[in-house]
Each structure stands twice: as structure tokens, then as C-alpha cells.
């Protein structure tokens, strides 16, 4: 019998061998290889976020795990001990597969290596990466070109920036990842293949201060594609040869005959240079950034061999003039404490009302029982039992009610934003956030679209395990995970760049100020004020969809006219209907250290509160009360008569 079984086994085994071989990879242990790519071809600007591409190769059985990147923040240069910040993303790796994960990280302490880990029950892999050889102190210049490239490399050491040539596909889909890039040079490049996320990232990067240099080429039809033409300040119509005379330009020299140039009509911006009636160099603003269009084909002869080309390109890639750092609202615990003890906030997180009712009810129960005892209408035993029952029920019901929050939220998220006019309807929003918890739990905070920065005000306490900041990526969003103890809080700050449809322009016209405000934000702008040297005017509310064009006298001081109060009183004395607005306003305009604000020196200031502003942060939890405040402001330096 055993011989027969052995024979049958020997027949069956070869038949199933191919299937067994197929199953072999699944049976083998997972083995993960990590291959990171840092920044833009290994280059990034120190102190700015940059892309990190992690290639994960699995040569074993499927692995469902977490990719974790540990970066170090805030070294000795920024003060404070370095602390780890973790970026995590869930990754599933099928058997014998390869997957690329793109993250944006922002280490600012490079003495400790970047640690990349993939952790799963099937396998674990770790890779350390020393970033010190990759950083550049100056912003990076990116060049994207499909075929022939503009000889940017000919600039050599003329520019302090590192120049990197990229493929279009290598552009990161997140604006944050581009913050270390000063210029993006596009030449002979179609943007058709760019995804919506990529285009949105480019928009936001430009609005945040990026500079896009678009160099014309013979393939003018590429420049007529909507993906590229939306950035152009001109409408490209064709191409022709011209004589480029760089007189007075950076590339001084002889005229270049037969240079190929695109013909175009100017749509917006400023024509900086013309050649034979063609707009050769046009610049237009895009939020805080700029789009620079050079109609000349710099990648083809005769211009590509022209000796003045490096200087011309150098002038296009000139760094932006140093902008004054915008007045950052500074928060600390004192401001947060003042906010939280305002009656409107206290009532939202303290179950004072229910407790009062409970206490009064409890005492009232004893008053009733004592009256019953005095009248001696019920038996003593019944009275004792009633008393015990009342105490027991009160204790149990109260505990159940109050341990579930007692109608109080589990947490309060307070977001106070200051929106600075960035032009073109863009605003740069600096938000101070306070997440206050009445429970011990973990919160997950997601910044909305256009976020550039989200980090706590203070570094986590050193030496405490589990105190690292954890950013969880996935599903096209990033969430900051914040474990909080009961009655604990965390202060954070964030920066967004977004289009809100609000614009304010102030212009000096002799002894008058011309104020133009347009509100297409979908929210009313309330409690608006205009403050200029010698002038302080309450303008009232600007409903959504409406606009103002007002001419206001400058520096008259004192007196009332048309319900507008003018005076020389300082900004500090401005008060609002809501006490929370008062606190936030002062925290937004006045430095905590008492130094003078930059707007004081001859600038005009317009501001107003957005009513019920759109939430910029999502906590995904209905039992957390969210309070949003947004102050819109435009600070415009006033030109003097001579200027």
C-alpha cells in the first residue's frame, strides 16, 4: 500500500512542479531595497523643502508596510536641540514589484543623516543618507527643455545658484517642493503632459515668489498650447528672423542679425525690450512671483553662439530684490491663554452650565428629602433608601454625562489667519493655530490646498519618546499627527498661498489716497479700516461681491466726516466688536518684543475681518470645535511727492 502511494506521489509531483515554481516568490521572504533620490538631481537648497523620491523594490513576497523618513529639524543655528520629524506613508508592495514614493521633506539640520525605513511584518529595510553633500546655500535654478537646451551651463560660475536640467516628469507635483527653486527656465518645452496637480503646484510656486523664465523657440506652436500660454504675458502668433540689438541691455555688444524671435502680442505685464517692433522681453507679475518671457530663440544659432548670451541669460536669472519680510504674527502661550479664557471660548469647552444644573439638582434633592423627613410622612427606612438611591443615581448619571464631555467638545481648534495681499487675487496667509484638547487622544490635522509650511511653534521636549512630529502622507494629502494629553494644547504655525478673490490697492494722489478694494471672496469683509500717516478711517463692512473706490484725504487728522472717524490715535487703540478680534489684531500687528513694525514708516494699511472664513485646516472629527478667524490686510508703501 505504501509503495502504491509513493508511486502516485512521484507521478503527481512533476505535474504540479510548474505551479509550485510559480508560488515560489510568494513563499520566499520579502526583501526590500531602498533607493532614494534627493532634491533635483541630488541638489536642494538648505532650509527649504525639497522633493525626496524613494524607490522601493521588493524581490520577495508581498509586503504591506509603512515607509518612514526621519529628518532632523532645528539645529544649533536656529536655536534649540535638534529633534526628529517623521514622514510616514502606507505602502503596499506586491511580490517582485517596484514602487516610487514621492515626498516633500524639509530638514534643516544636516549633521545627522536622513533615515529611510520600510517597516512591514514581512520585511524591514533601512537606509541612511548623508545630506551634507547635496545642499546648496542658494536657491536652485531648474531648466526644463524637451530637445535642444539653452546653454545655461555656459553661465558657469557667474551665478551663485546651482543649475539643474530636468525632464518635465521630474517636476514635483507639490508647490512646497519647489520653494527652494528660484527660477524655472522653460525652453522649447510642451507642458501638455503636466498633470493638474503639477500645474497647480507651478501656480502656487509662482504666487509664492518663484520666477518662471520662458524662452521662445522656433516651435512657436508649443507656446500656443493652453498649458503654457496661461503663463505667458503675450499671445504668440508666429516666428520670424530679426536683428537683435542688445543696446543698453545686459548683453551689451554688436547687434545679432538673423536671430529667430517669436512674434507676439502683449496681453499683460511690462515690455522691457523690443526689437524691430517685436516685444523681445516681457515681464508680468504672478502673485509675488514673476513670469519673464524672452521671445528670442536662445538655443539656436545665431543667438546660441553669440558671445553676449551668457550675460543676457544671467540678467534673466537675476535674483529677486530682497523683499522685506512680511510682518509675521507672533504667538505665544500668553496670547493663547488670553483667547481661551474669553467667555465665548470658555463656554465652548467648559461644561459649566451642566455642572451648575447638576449641583443645584443634587442639593435640591436633599432639600426635598429633608422636608419629607421633617413631615415624617414616609417611613424612616424608605427615606434612608431614597437618600442612598438619590446619591447613587446622581453619581452614576453625572459620571456618565461628564465623562463623555458633558456637551463640551473633545477639543478646540483655533485658527487665526492673517492674509497678506500678494497681488493677482493671491494672498499669503500666515496662520497661528492652537489645538486644545480636553481628552487624551491623537489628532490628525490636515492643511488645505496651497499649504507651504505647517509646524509647531516650539520643538518637542527633548528626550521624551513618542514626541517626534509625525507627518502622514497619503491620498493626496498630508496630515500632521498630534497626540495630546487631557487639558493639553499645541501651538502651530502654518503658511498658505491661495487665491481668495480679495484685492486692495492704495495709491497716493497728492494729498489724497485712492483706495480700491474688491471683494470677490464669497465672504463679507467686516470692520474695515484704512490707516495711513496722520489718518485713521473706519470704513465699515464690504459685503461679498462688492467693491470700493474711494478717495480719502491724507494726513488731515481729527474731525468726523460722513461717519468716518479720522484721527492720529495709534493703531493700538483700534477696537472691534469681538474681544477675540482685539486680541488677534494686536498679536498680528505688534511684535511681542515691542519693536516697531515695518509698516509704520510711511506705509498705508488697509485691513478688515473676513466673516466666517473658509476653514483651512481639517481635523476630521465632529466633536472638535473649530474657530476660524481671518484678517485681510494690505500694506502699501506710500510714495512721496518727489518719488
Amino acid at each position: 500500500m505504501s509503495i502504491r502511494r509513493r508511486r502516485s506521489t512521484s507521478r503527481v509531483l512533476p505535474a504540479f512542479l510548474p505551479f509550485l515554481l510559480l508560488l515560489l516568490p510568494a513563499a520566499a521572504a520579502a526583501e526590500i531595497l531602498i533607493e532614494p533620490k534627493v532634491g533635483f538631481h541630488g541638489v536642494f537648497q538648505l532650509g527649504r523643502p525639497f522633493p525626496l523620491e524613494v524607490n522601493l523594490s521588493n524581490i520577495g513576497r508581498p509586503a504591506d508596510g509603512v515607509l518612514e523618513v526621519q529628518v532632523w529639524k532645528r539645529g544649533a543655528t536656529q536655536g534649540g536641540a535638534p529633534h526628529a520629524s517623521l514622514h510616514r506613508q502606507d505602502v503596499f508592495l506586491p511580490a517582485r514589484s517596484r514602487r516610487t514614493v514621492q515626498l516633500t521633506i524639509d530638514p534643516d539640520y544636516l549633521s545627522r543623516p536622513l533615515l529611510i525605513r520600510f517597516v512591514s511584518p514581512a520585511a524591514t529595510a533601512t537606509r541612511e543618507l548623508d545630506l551634507r553633500g547635496h545642499f546648496s546655500p542658494a536657491p536652485v535654478v531648474l531648466s526644463v527643455s524637451e530637445g535642444s537646451a539653452v546653454p545655461l551651463t555656459s553661465l558657469g560660475l557667474a551665478l551663485p545658484n546651482r543649475m539643474v536640467a530636468l525632464n518635465l516628469a521630474e517636476l514635483p507635483p507639490e508647490a512646497r517642493a519647489l520653494l527652494g527653486v528660484s527660477h524655472l527656465v522653460l525652453y522649447d518645452q510642451s507642458l501638455r503632459d503636466l498633470s493638474r496637480a503639477h500645474l497647480a503646484a507651478l501656480d502656487d510656486w509662482l504666487a509664492a515668489g518663484g520666477r518662471m523664465v520662458i524662452i521662445g523657440s522656433l516651435n512657436f506652436t508649443l507656446y500656443q498650447e493652453p498649458q503654457l500660454s496661461r503663463y505667458l504675458p503675450v499671445r504668440v502668433t508666429g516666428v520670424r528672423q530679426t536683428v537683435f540689438d542688445p543696446h543698453g541691455e545686459a548683453g551689451k555688444g554688436k547687434a545679432v542679425a538673423g536671430a529667430w524671435a517669436q512674434t507676439a502680442t502683449v496681453l499683460r505685464g511690462t515690455v522691457v525690450a523690443e526689437s524691430q517692433g517685436l516685444p523681445v522681453l516681457v515681464e508680468s507679475d504672478w502673485g509675488r512671483g514673476k513670469v519673464i518671457y524672452l521671445a528670442l530663440d536662445a538655443g539656436r544659432p545665431p543667438l546660441s553662439t553669440w558671445s553676449g548670451l551668457p550675460k543676457l541669460l544671467q540678467s534673466l536669472l537675476a535674483p529677486a530684490a530682497d523683499e522685506k519680510a512680511s510682518l509675521r504674527p507672533q504667538w505665544n502661550e500668553a496670547i493663547f491663554s488670553r483667547l481661551l479664557v474669553t467667555p465665548s471660548f470658555m463656554s465652548s469647552y467648559i461644561p459649566a452650565g451642566p455642572l451648575l444644573v447638576a449641583v443645584v439638582g443634587y442639593l435640591a434633592g436633599f432639600i426635598v428629602l429633608s422636608k419629607l423627613w421633617r413631615r415624617r410622612r414616609i417611613a424612616r427606612r424608605t427615606l434612608v433608601l431614597s437618600c442612598c438611591g438619590w446619591i447613587l443615581c446622581s453619581a452614576a448619571a453625572g459620571h456618565l454625562f461628564f465623562s463623555r464631555g458633558g456637551q463640551a467638545p473633545e477639543g478646540v481648534l483655533l485658527a487665526a489667519a492673517v492674509m497678506d495681499n500678494a497681488g493677482d487675487g493671491y494672498v499669503e496667509t500666515q496662520t497661528n493655530l492652537a489645538l486644545f484638547s480636553t481628552q487624551r487622544r491623537e489628532y490628525s490635522l490636515a492643511p488645505g490646498r496651497g499649504w507651504m509650511d505647517l509646524m509647531p511653534h516650539a520643538a518637542p521636549a527633548p528626550g521624551q519618546p513618542g514626541q517626534s512630529l509625525v507627518y502622514r502622507h497619503g491620498g493626496g494629502a498630508t496630515r500632521l499627527q498630534l497626540p495630546l494629553k487631557e487639558w493639553d494644547f499645541k501651538l502651530l504655525r502654518a503658511r498658505h498661498l491661495e487665491r481668495v478673490g480679495l484685492s486692495a490697492a492704495i495709491e497716493r494722489q497728492g494729498e489724497q489716497l485712492l483706495l480700491k478694494v474688491e471683494n470677490r471672496s464669497g465672504r463679507d469683509l467686516t470692520d474695515c479700516w484704512l490707516v495711513a500717516p496722520g489718518t485713521r478711517i473706519a470704513l465699515g463692512d464690504l459685503p461679498r461681491g462688492e467693491s470700493w473706490t474711494r478717495t480719502l484725504p491724507l494726513g488731515t487728522g481729527g474731525g468726523d466726516s460722513g461717519g468716518q472717524n479720522r484721527g492720529n490715535a495709534s493703531l493700538r487703540s483700534i477696537t472691534f466688536k469681538e474681544s477675540v478680534h482685539d486680541i488677534l489684531f494686536h498679536a498680528s500687528f505688534f511684535q511681542q518684543d515691542g519693536t516697531d513694525a515695518p509698516w509704520r514708516s510711511g506705509a498705508a494699511l488697509f485691513f478688515g475681518w473676513l466673516r466666517d472664513p473658509e476653514p483651512r485646516f481639517e481635523v476630521g472629527e465632529p466633536r472638535i470645535t473649530v474657530r476660524n478667524y481671518a484678517l485681510y490686510r494690505a500694506i502699501v508703501p506710500l510714495a512721496t511727492e518727489e518719488e
Binding site: 459649566a352 436633599f366 424612616r380 446619591i391 453619581a395 453625572g398 461628564f402 465623562s403 480636553t438 487624551r440
Partner: protein, 250 residues
């Protein structure tokens, strides 16, 4: 039932002479609890007042319950309604042990009543402050323990100065005040409030001296000794009193 205990129960619960103690306890503790929600702690984190609600309430509760237990033991409520010791020892024919048992049981009954009445308020405070259940349980266990350890000295004073109510009230307060101050000076964790706050906050009890003894052992050792000494002193005082009564009878 022990006649001494029955007398106490009749005076306190049938005649209602002891209700003021319970009334005062509730009327003090309830506002303290409510106001604690708005009473900010000092410092920048003043908004976290609700987080300290249970600590505040349990501190006040332990002081009040120990105080009222001591007053009850010292017969400060309805003093004229209780029969003197001489009556129980001579006419009642009770032994010293029976009298001790009756008075101690009456003290225990009162402590339990005080604790039960204040328990809902403490439980609510713990729920609002998200205090752990272990902390709540420890508080509810520690409060009667302290009340007994300190209250038993009210019984001692009652025997020693039975006919001098003013003296005994002063004496027992001075004694308890002295013990509390000495405990603070000698070793901070000896103090019941500080120790209980540390337990509720799940922290090590603080120490201001360079010497750090094991806080739990020292604390409980001290209070067990205090309570036991009170019981021994009470028994000794009663025995002495019996001797005096017997001598007078002869």
C-alpha cells in the same frame, strides 16, 4: 446594638442634630467645585483650570471631611444631647471596650456619611477633569482613612476635657494643626493633601528636603501610627476616667 452607638445615631439622624455637619460640607464643597471651573490656576496655562478641578475638589473634600469628622467625634454638634461618660461607665455599666467601640463606630458611620454625600461631587469633578479611575478610587479610599486618623483625636479630647468644651475644641485643633505643620516641615509627602494630589496627578510626591524616603511607606506608616496612637490614647484616657469614676463612687 451598642447603646453608645444607638444614642449617637438617634441624636444625629432621628433628631436631626447632626445634619448641619452634612449641610456645611455640601454647601462649601458644591460652590468650590463650580467655581473651580472658572478659577484659573496661576501662570500662563490659566485656561487649564478644569484639568485641576478634581485636585481642587479632593483637596477641599479631605480637609472638610477630616474637620467635620473631628468635630463630630468631639461632640461639637448637639453637645447637650449626649449622655456623659460617667453615665455609661457607672449607671450604664458598660465596659471601657464597649464605650470605645460605640464611639469609634459612630465616628466611622459619620465619616462614611460625609464621604457618601460628597462622593457624587467628587465623581463629577473626576469625570470633568478626566482623572483616571484609579485616582478617583484612591481618593475615595484615602479620604476616610485620613478622616479617621485625625478624627480619633477628637474622641481623645472628648474624654480628657469632657466638661470643658471650649478647651477641648481648642486643644484638638491645636493638636491637629501642630501635626499637619510638623508633617510639612519634616517631610512634605507626610501631608495628606500633598500626598493625595500626587496620587491623583500620578506623580511622585514632592520633597523639599535633601532626604528622600520612600513616600508611600513613610506616609502610611505615619498615619497608621497617628490613628493607632489616637485609639490607644483614647482607651487609656477612658480607663483613667473609669478609675476616677470608680474612685468617686467609692
Amino acid at each position: 446594638m451598642n447603646p453608645v452607638l444607638r444614642e449617637g445615631l438617634d441624636v444625629f439622624f432621628v433628631e436631626g442634630r447632626g445634619f448641619p455637619a452634612y449641610f456645611y460640607l455640601l454647601i462649601i464643597l458644591a460652590p468650590v467645585e463650580f467655581l473651580s471651573l472658572y478659577m484659573p490656576t496661576l501662570g500662563e496655562q490659566m485656561w487649564s483650570g478644569p484639568g485641576n478641578l478634581f485636585k481642587n475638589c479632593s483637596s477641599v473634600a479631605v480637609l472638610l471631611i477630616a474637620y467635620f469628622a473631628m468635630r463630630v467625634a468631639n461632640q461639637e454638634y448637639a453637645p447637650g444631647r449626649f449622655k456623659p461618660l460617667e453615665h455609661w461607665l457607672r449607671e450604664g455599666g458598660l465596659s471601657v471596650g464597649a464605650v470605645v467601640e460605640g464611639r469609634v463606630l459612630f465616628l466611622v458611620v459619620n465619616i462614611v456619611c460625609l464621604l457618601i454625600l460628597s462622593a457624587p461631587l467628587l465623581i463629577w469633578a473626576a469625570a470633568i477633569a478626566r482623572a483616571p479611575l484609579a485616582g478617583l478610587a484612591a481618593t475615595l479610599a484615602l479620604i476616610p482613612f485620613y478622616a479617621f486618623c485625625y478624627g480619633v483625636w477628637g474622641l481623645v479630647a472628648l474624654v480628657l476635657w469632657e466638661r470643658e468644651p471650649d478647651n477641648r475644641e481648642l486643644a484638638v485643633r491645636c493638636f491637629i494643626g501642630f501635626v499637619v505643620v510638623i508633617s510639612l516641615v519634616v517631610y512634605l509627602p507626610l501631608n495628606p493633601v500633598i500626598y493625595m494630589l500626587a496620587i491623583v496627578g500620578q506623580q511622585e510626591p514632592p520633597s523639599i528636603t535633601a532626604v528622600t524616603w520612600p513616600a508611600d511607606s513613610v506616609h502610611f506608616g505615619f498615619h497608621l501610627m497617628l490613628g493607632a496612637a489616637g485609639l490607644v490614647a483614647y482607651q487609656w484616657a477612658l480607663a483613667r476616667r473609669l478609675a476616677v469614676v470608680s474612685k468617686n463612687a467609692i
